[in-house]
């Protein structure tokens, strides 16, 4: 019904709308409009595709039904999901994109005529490479995201799973994938195509299991990137501009986020991917001997007194705040402090939480205005002039050892200069080290007051005594 040239132009428009959707995110004010552009782009792409096929028979009816089923499931999840569960949600969504890419590749392989790719058993070589790559990356994204989901959800332990020869096995599987794809181009046997998908599913699992829970920000960003490349692969197969543009956008977006996250931990991408970091708190051997050092122990009243008499307070939230769901209590505390004339701001480390921007969303949920929330570079110099730093659920990102001890595994990682403030209030359940398995020197400093409690309970108690 629509000529293929016109169709291509519509897809181009969708692609441009998607670019505008990402562009809108450069500031919270324009972001909502950006999201609208994204929705329009998507609606356009779907409608012109349906028109172009022009098949309004029984199949069309099913299409609408399936679209509505999927749509209502998606809408239900979107409205029900608590903000603290956002990392799992995004991981779960990535797995769906991956699987959808695999399914589209399979139907293109089984029925290449509908996409003008040739006939079964006689598919164009270029298309064959593109669809196998799309299917392989899609399958890796699918199982990889499922593992990430299980780890984030706590169904699977966050500690890395490593075994002898893991890297060699992955290397072997990777090489055999390439071999299978090349062989498929010579001999188009169905079994080869299925083998590619099955091996890729396995690679997805193997790739993510050795990565520890705290490295999840990198993993999620990386899977985000993969889902983009999978879409681009399918886009080349289907000769569809909208998919190619989107795939490239998403692919580079995920790659940039992975880069930012790695830089936030001062680790190379390969170091994260090869995994093995971040065991359980208990497994660390260094924690036992150091516990003898004296720490100053405080309670909610002490903390309230200190903060009430301060002129400026900086709050440093971390993953622990998300776990304890303490963001609302925290906002109440800040409100109470502001009434006392205390200047309060928030300092967010790039890798705080389990995904990029995790803390910002939680604070936004608790109605914290976004112009009170600062990134590491913006606020780090302010600690020197601040009276109290309130560290809630963060640990390694405040560890001064990253600046002083070249032996430390986190040496060189950018950290928040919390120790420079006049006093530090550290809300934590115990003295156990953070995910890097190293002791935080900050606990034993003279200007540090440890508040041993659940982040939410402690904050609520402080609100009471304010």
């Amino acid at each position: 019904m629509i000529s293929s040239n016109l169709l291509a132009i519509f897809y181009l428009i969708s692609g441009v709308l998607f670019i505008l959707a990402l562009r809108g995110l450069s500031s919270p004010e324009t972001s909502r409009q950006g999201n609208l552009y994204g929705i329009i782009g998507m609606a356009l792409a779907i409608s012109v595709t349906i028109l172009s096929v022009g098949n309004f028979s029984l199949g069309f009816l099913y299409l609408i039904i399936f679209l509505l089923i999927g749509g209502s499931i998606g809408a239900f999840i979107a409205f029900k999901i608590p903000m603290t569960a956002m990392p799992e949600l995004v991981a779960g969504f990535h797995s769906l994109v991956g699987l959808a890419a695999v399914f589209v590749a399979i139907s293109a392989f089984l029925n290449p005529e509908i996409f003008n790719l040739g006939t079964p058993g006689n598919i164009k070589v270029a298309s064959l490479i593109e669809m196998s790559l799309g299917a392989a990356i899609g399958a890796i994204t699918f199982t990889g995201s499922i593992i990430a989901f299980l780890k984030l959800r706590g169904i699977m332990s966050g500690s890395p799973i490593t075994f002898f020869g893991q890297h060699y096995l992955n290397l072997f599987l990777g090489i055999s994938l390439l071999a299978l794809i090349s062989y498929l181009c010579i001999k188009q046997i169905d079994t080869l195509f299925w083998a590619i998908i099955i091996i890729s599913l396995l690679v997805g699992v193997l790739l993510i299991i050795p990565i520890g829970g705290a490295d999840m920000p990198v993993v999620i960003s990386m899977l985000n990137s993969y889902s983009g490349w999978a879409a681009a692969g399918i886009g080349f197969t289907l000769e569809n501009t909208a998919l190619i543009i989107t795939g490239a956008l998403v692919g580079s977006s995920g790659a940039i986020l992975s880069y930012i996250m790695c830089k936030g931990m001062n680790r190379s991408f390969f170091n994260v991917i090869l995994g093995g970091w971040g065991g359980n708190d208990e497994t660390s051997s260094s924690s036992v001997q150091k516990e003898k050092k004296p720490v100053k122990n405080g309670n909610a009243d002490d903390a309230a007194f200190l903060m009430k008499n301060a002129s400026s307070v900086i709050i440093v939230p971390g993953y622990g705040m998300a776990v304890a769901q303490a963001q609302h209590a925290l906002r109440e505390m800040v409100d109470a402090l502001k009434k006392n004339g205390v200047k309060v701001s928030y300092a967010i480390h790039p890798v705080a939480g389990r995904m990029p921007g995790h803390m910002n969303v939680l604070l936004a949920e608790a109605n914290v205005p976004y112009d009170e929330v600062f990134e590491l570079d913006e606020i780090n110099n302010d600690f020197a002039n601040c009276d109290v730093a309130y560290v809630i659920g963060a640990n390694d990102v405040t560890n001064p050892i990253a600046k002083s001890d070249p032996q430390s595994p986190i040496y060189g990682m950018p950290v928040l200069d919390v120790e420079k403030s006049k006093s530090v209030l550290f809300v934590k359940r115990s003295l156990s080290p953070g995910y890097a398995g190293i002791d935080n020197d900050l606990f034993y400093r003279d200007n540090t007051l440890m508040l041993f409690a659940d982040a939410k309970k402690m904050t609520e108690e402080i609100v009471k005594s304010l």
């Binding site: 809408a75 956002m86 959808a100 270029a126 000769e239 490239a248």
Partner: protein
């Protein structure tokens, strides 16, 4: 000699990577989570492939194997599209500026 259309698609791809690179670097870090959920939603534009796979072909036989995979992909992509855009909307609605009339 005529240029293979693949080269054009490759050009679009490469240029889009560059656009993505510059656009994403300008995204403010506080919106990185919505960035992930919206990229997730737009990458589900893969649904166009699913629609073609589901609808095309023999209209007598709606559920040919290739079509079934198409329909399954439609469900998955639809979950993502609706879920992704709506959750992004929900998050973005929470980002508020400081009120001018401070208490």
């Amino acid at each position: 000699m005529e240029i293979d259309p693949f080269i054009f698609r490759l050009s679009i791809f490469i240029l889009s990577i560059f656009i993505g690179y510059y656009v994403v670097w300008s995204v403010t870090p506080s919106l990185h989570t919505p960035l992930m959920s919206v990229t997730n939603a737009i990458s589900s534009v893969i649904i166009v492939g699913a629609i073609i796979a589901a609808l095309a072909g023999n209209s007598m036989n709606v559920f040919d194997t290739a079509n079934i995979f198409g329909f399954l992909a439609i469900i998955l992509a639809a979950i993502n599209i609706f879920g992704g855009f709506l959750v992004t909307q929900r998050m973005l609605a929470m980002y508020k500026k400081k009120k001018k009339d401070k208490k």
